[in-house]
């Protein structure tokens, strides 16, 4: 399904020599799209999608609440309640569309920005904030919701995802795995090794690349001279580029990819072509490296506005629905705010608690030393 755009791109350049003008982030060949930025439904012959009005409203609710959660976290960082935050602003459709495509038994391996996927996996949003507040380095049981811990070293989780998928094959199960990463991660060795392992073992893993155009300050053109989804062909599996701001297209393409993987047909690379509207993290300053016109042009493709336009145009939601979502969003914001502010610091002995599964004499010894030291202070506790 990607052959058309591939061959078209090649006509402009000598074989094997990518045309820089069409390379990387500047090229937008044949995005799979089911909902235009104006909110009109369009059909794609290879990715049909039937959604009920209720499902559309539910997706809209997800998008709005995820954006609200993210905005709240950004504010909390500004207020000093979080040490750092990695905003997903602009990427809600890529995350909700792919997250909603998963079945219960499927497993997601996120980066540190997949707050929307976590939402779809029913992970308590407050769990996501522990690491950013500094009360833990992960904090949830990944197997409870089949949502792995956030991984900070770029691309490392794609190998964990692939290994997990290899295990699914060994078990003879029909689950699938989805590994999230970004355009910058596509340059990492681990991602390329994950592609290799997944391909040669025909593992049920979907590599979901959110190409948000920027790896901190580096544009996609610094990572690649070909559109990223075309990397897949070199590894021997299909790659698809989807409009990452179109929740319906992402849903359809990811659902197809997961089914492709779970039915023994091997991995798929999905490139969700999207845009990071905010900073890389709250420590970043995007005004140093990108033009405001670029950001403005992506505002017109906003994933929430286009679904809202569709719901309104088609008369699928009334004012009361939108008001209700707003009220729910306020409640979520309040819960997150209060939850973070009342999040207790861990007991300092957490340091020693889970260094190992089994007893370890050095850890026991150092814990005892610390406890004796802490007890030596007035009141018996070290502050």
């Amino acid at each position: 399904m990607t052959v058309k755009s591939t061959s078209r791109a090649r006509k402009k350049a000598a074989p094997g020599v990518p045309d820089p003008a069409r390379a990387g982030s500047t090229a937008e060949p044949e995005l799979v799209q089911l909902l235009t930025p104006e909110g009109d439904r369009v059909e794609h012959p290879e990715f049909p999608l039937t959604v009920t009005p209720e499902e559309l409203r539910s997706l809209y609710r997800d998008l709005v609440l995820v954006r609200r959660f993210d905005a709240e976290a950004t504010s909390l960082q500004r207020q000093g309640e979080l040490g750092l935050w990695a905003s997903l602003l602009g990427q809600e459709a890529a995350q909700v569309g792919s997250g909603r495509a998963m079945r219960t038994g499927d497993y997601a391996f996120p980066t540190y920005r997949e707050h929307g996927v976590a939402w779809c996996r029913d992970v308590d949003p407050l769990n996501l904030l522990g690491m950013f507040r500094g009360v833990n380095n992960g904090g949830w049981d990944p197997n409870e919701k089949n949502f792995h811990l956030y991984t900070i070293v770029i691309g490392a989780q794609t190998l964990h995802a692939t290994g997990y998928a290899m295990g699914i094959t060994k078990d003879g199960a029909d689950d699938a795995v989805i590994a999230y990463f970004g355009d910058g991660a596509s340059s990492q060795g681990d991602v390329n090794e994950a592609f290799t392992f997944a391909s040669v073992y025909n593992s049920p893993v979907v590599f979901f690349c959110q190409n948000n155009q920027w790896a901190i300050s580096e544009p996609t053109t610094v990572q690649t001279r070909i559109p990223l989804y075309r990397r897949a062909s070199g590894f021997g599996f299909p790659g698809v580029r989807v409009d990452g701001n179109d929740v319906l297209a992402v849903l359809a393409v990811t659902r197809w990819a997961l089914d492709h993987a779970r039915t023994g047909q091997g991995p798929v690379l999905v490139e969700a072509f999207t845009y990071r509207m905010g900073a890389h993290t709250t420590s970043d300053d995007p005004t140093r490296y990108r033009q405001s016109e670029e950001t403005e042009s992506w505002k017109a493709k906003d994933p929430i506005l286009r679904l809202k336009a569709h719901l309104e145009k088609e008369g699928l939601a009334d004012e009361a629905f939108f008001t209700g979502i707003e009220a729910e969003s306020e409640q979520l914001g309040l819960r997150v705010r209060e939850g973070v502010r009342s999040m207790p610091d861990p007991d300092p002995t957490l340091i020693f608690d889970h260094a190992y599964s089994e007893p370890h004499p050095l850890v026991d010894e150092e814990r005892a030393e610390y406890e004796a030291y802490a007890a030596s202070f007035e009141g018996g506790e070290h502050h």
Binding site: L149, T151, D171, H354, Y356
Partner: protein, 324 residues
């Protein structure tokens, strides 16, 4: 099991027993299938257990360890082989930042029962990147356990214990001893992380592990001809270290000499010397001395004998310790 086995065969038998006893145990690595590994440690295992359990991998060390982590999350117990010590560095992030920390990051909810087997150390006349001792990097990382057997019995039983451990274990195989034979008993005798006094003595304690245990035993034998009775402690486990056994020995002899192939600077010997000084200060007749590699890249094999501690360098250190 009883009988004389080479360390290589003892390891092979340990892998076989582990594959037999737990269907979730899988072996992964480069060339471990039909070839049986470049040192033949996995010889015959793919034939008997199938390529689904003895898995030939792509040539990618980070990929081997990274996918093993995923398999462990799915409930498997992977045993991965790194072909040579110097090839493990591409997997360094996966071992020290991912594997070692996963249990803590999940607040104990997940376990990482992965064994990383690495043939390590020099003395076989190999080319560059085939003779290195990187134990300090791994022992320095909390979350990992690091062990190294010195004889066939320990090679067999420590590998089985490592595979049964729910923690990640870096299992360093002394490759220059692969062909040394020894009795493999029916019982492990010791827990995985206990040190063992392999030769009792009264005048000084030689502390070693893996390939250097044999050198120290030979040194003790030679010293006895000069009327010096040296005790030899085989650490077996490098993280955690069984300090109780080492301390007790050094307190008795009053002298300690740590011997390893790795560079002396910031090596395991530095940690042992510091700790023994803290704990045995009033029992010491001499400073704890160290014998090991130089602060230089592992040398070309024609001069590796100069780099590696040998019997003479150990005995020279004994002379210095006894001269205090």
């Amino acid at each position: 099991m009883a009988g004389q086995l080479s360390i290589a065969k003892a390891l092979n038998e340990a892998l076989r027993k582990s594959l037999e006893s737990d269907p979730k145990t899988v072996l992964m690595g480069e060339d471990i299938g039909k070839l049986g590994g470049v040192f033949r440690i996995t010889d015959g295992l793919q034939k008997d257990f199938g390529d689904d359990r003895v898995i030939d991998t792509p040539l990618a060390e980070s990929g081997i360890v990274g996918t093993a982590i995923g398999l462990a999350l799915r409930g498997y117990r992977p045993v991965v082989e790194i072909q040579f010590d110097g090839f493990v560095y591409p997997a360094f992030d996966q071992i020290v930042s991912q594997l070692a920390k996963m249990h803590a990051r999940a607040l104990g909810h997940v376990k990482m029962p992965i064994t990383v087997r690495i043939p390590f150390g020099g003395g076989i006349g190999a080319v560059e990147h085939h003779s290195e001792s990187h134990e300090a990097y791994f022992a320095h990382t909390a979350g990992l356990r690091v062990v190294s057997p010195s004889n066939a019995h320990d090679a067999h039983w420590m590998l089985r214990q490592a595979i049964e451990s729910d923690d990640p274990v870096v299992f360093l195989e002394p490759k220059r001893r692969y062909w040394d034979k020894g009795e493999v008993g029916e019982d492990p005798m010791l827990p995985l992380h206990s040190a063992r006094i392999v030769r009792p003595g009264t005048d000084a304690t030689l502390i070693a592990y893996g390939p250097m245990v044999k050198v120290c035993q030979e040194a003790a034998q030679a010293a006895e001809e000069d009327g010096r009775r040296l005790e030899v402690v085989d650490l077996r486990s490098l993280s955690p270290v069984d300090f109780a056994t080492v301390e007790e020995s050094v307190k008795r002899t009053g002298r300690g000499i740590v011997v390893h192939e790795a560079p002396v600077f910031l090596g395991l010997g530095a940690e042992l010397a510091a700790r023994l000084t803290e704990r045995c200060f009033y029992h010491l007749e001499a400073p704890i001395l160290r014998v090991g590699g130089y602060h230089a890249p592992y040398p070309p094999s024609r001069v590796e004998e100069t780099y590696l501690p040998d019997l003479d360098r150990v005995l020279d250190a004994v002379d210095r310790a006894l001269a205090f």
